[in-house]
Amino acid sequence: MTLFSTTGVRRWLKGMMLKHMHRMITCREFEEFVLRYLEGELSDRQRSVFEWHLRLCRECREYLAAYKRTLEITTAVMAPPNAPVLDEVPEDLIKAILEARKH
């Protein structure tokens, strides 16, 4: 039995590299920047650090792709014209609103 599995060693090495390499951030730090990156709020330097991490890290690259796809799907599914439409004019509600207006 070895002390570390191959995967464990790989993750340890990756963690050390991301933590100590010049102009590099960890995945946890990357997470803090995601929204500001997508909103275009990062400085040039911050964006370059973010994108450098993105090039090196398969997990964050795929995470960000799925995050963006989720956003596209949410907007597409919830926003008109894909959102549900009313089956019929709610006559009772219209009547109640117009009645309430008189009081």
Partner: protein, 197 residues
């Protein structure tokens, strides 16, 4: 506000005149759907729309036409729905922590490899997947779902959402990011095609 409601119906109070019924008929459909998206309950949505029209009738004389009537009614409806949401005792909400992104002890992200990622069209083409997405959004706690809906669906900007919900812009951004991250996790079986239409 950037989406469809900012460029729609350009009715003004003068053209509306005193024709309250026409105002109600012209707008009740989209207002009801909007309230239902926020409240996810048809009866509560009807209450919100009724309250919104009462507020609109009271405020119509002071409506200055700086935005379109629809934009104005949109905001009134959102406010009415949020008021109801604050009053209603919701069922206990599930904590979202278990769906947030995970990291190992080296601060590396834990993310299984993606062999396939469903496209937007694949989702839209299947009624079942469409419904599953709706259901997943419904699973988000109100405080997160509202921010996501107001920002990503209804088209309000961060400062408008902060004002509508009475929270700081920083809080809006934190909740928005968490809502999207949790939703990504909830949609993963669909996105990875582990759920077949």
């Amino acid at each position: 506000m950037t989406k469809e409601h900012s460029k729609s119906v350009e009715t003004t109070p003068s053209s509306v005149g005193d024709d309250a019924e026409q105002l109600v008929r012209d707008n009740i459909g989209w207002m009801l759907l909007l309230a239902d998206r926020l409240l996810r309950d048809r009866a509560l949505a009807e209450d919100a729309v009724q309250a919104a029209f009462m507020a609109a009738f009271r405020g119509l004389a002071n409506f200055e036409g700086r935005s379109s009537l629809k934009t104005w009614l949109h905001r009134i409806t959102v406010n009415a729905a949020l008021d109801i949401l604050r009053q209603v005792k919701r069922r206990a909400e599930q904590p979202i922590d278990e769906h947030l992104p995970e990291f190992d002890s080296y601060e590396c992200r834990i993310e299984a490899p993606w062999a396939h990622m469903a496209s937007v069209d694949e989702i839209l083409e299947s009624e079942d997947l469409h419904d599953r997405v709706h259901k997943a959004i419904g699973e988000l706690p109100d405080g997160y779902r509202n921010v996501l809906q107001l920002r990503d669906v209804e088209g309000y900007n961060t400062s408008e959402v902060a004002e509508l919900l009475g929270i700081s812009e920083t809080n809006v951004k934190v909740r928005l990011h968490r809502a999207r991250a949790v939703l990504k996790k909830l949609l993963e079986p669909i996105l990875r095609r582990e759920v077949q239409p």
